[in-house]
């Protein structure tokens, strides 16, 4: 089951805050996909994952949209 959060058009700190809320509903080991347009979100999600223990599996950017794959810790 795909867990996706669309945070496009939202600026700091909303992508992180929305992701925090969304990831609560993602069972451990599964992936939350986050879409964002805020360029600051790159460093933000890296820091967010480092401090919360969720794993930033991969991220990429295409046409101004950043896609993050975050594995839920627990």
């Amino acid at each position: 089951m795909a867990h996706t959060l669309d945070a496009k058009g939202l600026n700091c700190p909303l992508p992180i805050l929305r992701a925090k809320k969304a990831i609560k509903d993602v069972p451990a080991g599964e992936i939350l996909t986050v879409l964002a347009t805020d360029p600051g979100s790159v460093k933000d999600f890296q820091a967010f994952c480092r401090s919360t223990g969720h794993e930033l599996v991969e991220w990429h950017e295409s046409d101004g949209v950043y896609t993050y794959q975050i594995r839920s810790a627990s």
Partner: protein, 162 residues
């Protein structure tokens, strides 16, 4: 939140729209990162805990305030803020810009802070000084004094004066 969680305290002393952003952005972001957050609102910062917010910004004495207008960045001459309605207009323009850029409103950030169990404390002395009524303030607030803030700040990992 675990007991190993870092603690972040801050004392919020200003109540204009621009000064409201750093405390709430930092508080909500820290809470999202698993930090225990406590905010103490005093003097003009206490106004940020009113139920109904109508935060304002002033163009007076704000030489760093260069707003995007008509395709460039403009500074308002100080004299203009003396005209009736100019500051109110600047505040409205700022709020519109914030909305257009997908930045959260203070109301939304504050709601997120409450939801994230950020501790919001109102300064009792300021309540008395400015004759604020508890009925105008958010429900469920704690009111305390300097020693309560001091105790929390001394035990924190990160403490800010805003």
């Amino acid at each position: 939140m675990s007991d190993n969680a870092k603690k972040f305290t801050m004392i919020v002393t200003k109540g204009t729209l621009d000064w409201a952003y750093p405390p709430f952005i930092l508080a909500t972001t820290a809470a999202a990162m698993g930090v225990n957050v406590s905010m103490f609102f005093t003097f003009y910062g206490l106004g940020l805990l009113k139920k109904n917010l109508d935060l304002q910004i002033s163009t007076l004495g704000n030489p760093a305030m260069k707003m995007p207008m008509a395709g460039m960045h403009m500074v308002m001459p100080n004299l203009m803020s003396a005209l009736p309605g100019v500051d109110a207009m600047a505040s409205k323009m700022m709020k519109n810009l914030i909305k257009r850029k997908g930045v959260a409103s203070i109301e939304e950030l504050r709601d997120l802070a409450v939801e994230a169990d950020v501790e919001l404390i109102g300064c009792q002395m300021t309540m008395d000084l400015f004759e604020f009524d508890e009925k105008e303030m958010l429900d469920g607030l704690e009111y305390a004094g300097a020693a309560a803030y001091m105790e929390r700040a001394l035990a924190s990992d990160l403490n800010l004066f805003i």
